[in-house]
């Protein structure tokens, strides 16, 4: 397990964060949704119809987001609740917010010292795709694209120094 200071020292690219973010995401989907995420063979594009965000504050400041289309978000909800896809109702925002919250928590718990020194905000969820996100983050951040049941999901971490 790497320490916060080691990882922050590598800022500029933050490439060392990528495998931690991917592992944190995979574990959430495996344990809570019972499914494996796949790595896309080629670059994927998705129109983010549902975006969940969790803020991080403390030794690491930033925003972690999970973006996907509406069909993927509904399927995540279905799997989390153990109900048929056509029975999924207004729980989609709550479910994606919890996925984002667990990915953020799992990610910070993988970095020595960060569990103690970094707090998470409650999740915020945006539905719809006609928006622009303007972050005050001053680093390029990192992004992981994975396939959930063949549908792309994008996990981003925007980092403030």
């Amino acid at each position: 397990m790497k320490s916060v200071s080691e990882l922050l020292a590598a800022k500029g690219t933050h490439e060392s964060w990528l495998p931690l973010l991917e592992t944190a995401t995979r574990e959430v989907f495996e344990l809570m949704l019972g499914c494996q995420l796949a790595v896309p063979a080629t670059a994927v594009e998705t129109i983010p119809e549902v975006t969940a965000m969790v803020g991080l504050a403390g030794q690491l400041c930033g925003v972690l987001s999970v973006r996907c289309d509406g069909k993927a978000a509904a399927l995540m909800t279905s799997k989390m609740l153990g109900v048929a896809l056509d029975k999924v109702g207004p729980d989609v925002s709550d479910a994606l917010g919890e996925v984002c919250n667990m990915v953020a928590g799992n990610f910070k718990n993988k970095i020595a010292g960060l569990a103690e020194s970094c707090m998470l905000s409650p999740p915020t969820v945006i539905t719809g795709s006609d928006y622009s996100l303007h972050s005050l983050a001053d680093s390029p951040g990192i992004e992981v694209s994975l396939l959930f049941e063949g549908m792309p999901i994008v996990i981003s971490l925007q980092i403030h120094s």
Partner: protein
């Protein structure tokens, strides 16, 4: 013997997942009460005795740590085992929760097996 459980989490989806995990862990549930934060949970407990409480930490209005600090003053909650289920993985949170009477601490994401491992021993033969 079927037990009565109180699940405290600000996410209704997570409350349903916790309930399902309890059932998958083989715990026989007679009744499940839900609350969206610690303050709501205290109100639920005034009217409804329970055998088990599962509680998140980060919640609005009253968080899980404040909730368990207030439990000794609740008649229906004396000696009721509390297991925390949270994304907070810091040792200080674990120590604080246990020092205020929590009997277990489960980090999200979790499996039904972990729920069983942490919850069943707290029931002392019930369920």
């Amino acid at each position: 013997m079927p037990i009565r459980a109180l699940i405290v989490d600000d996410s209704s989806v997570m409350r349903k997942i916790v309930e399902r995990s309890l059932r998958q862990a083989g715990i026989d549930l007679a009744k499940v009460f839900e609350a969206g934060n610690g303050a709501e949970a205290l109100v639920v407990l005034q009217e409804n005795p329970v055998d088990l409480i599962l509680c998140d930490i980060n919640m609005p209005v009253m968080d899980g740590l404040e909730f368990i600090k207030q439990l000794p003053g609740v008649a229906n909650a004396k000696d009721v085992p509390v297991v925390m289920i949270t994304t907070e993985g810091s040792e200080s949170h674990v120590v604080e929760a246990l020092s205020h009477g929590a009997r277990g601490y489960i980090r999200k994401p979790f499996t039904p097996e972990q729920v069983k491992e942490h919850v069943v021993p707290t029931l002392g033969g019930k369920s």
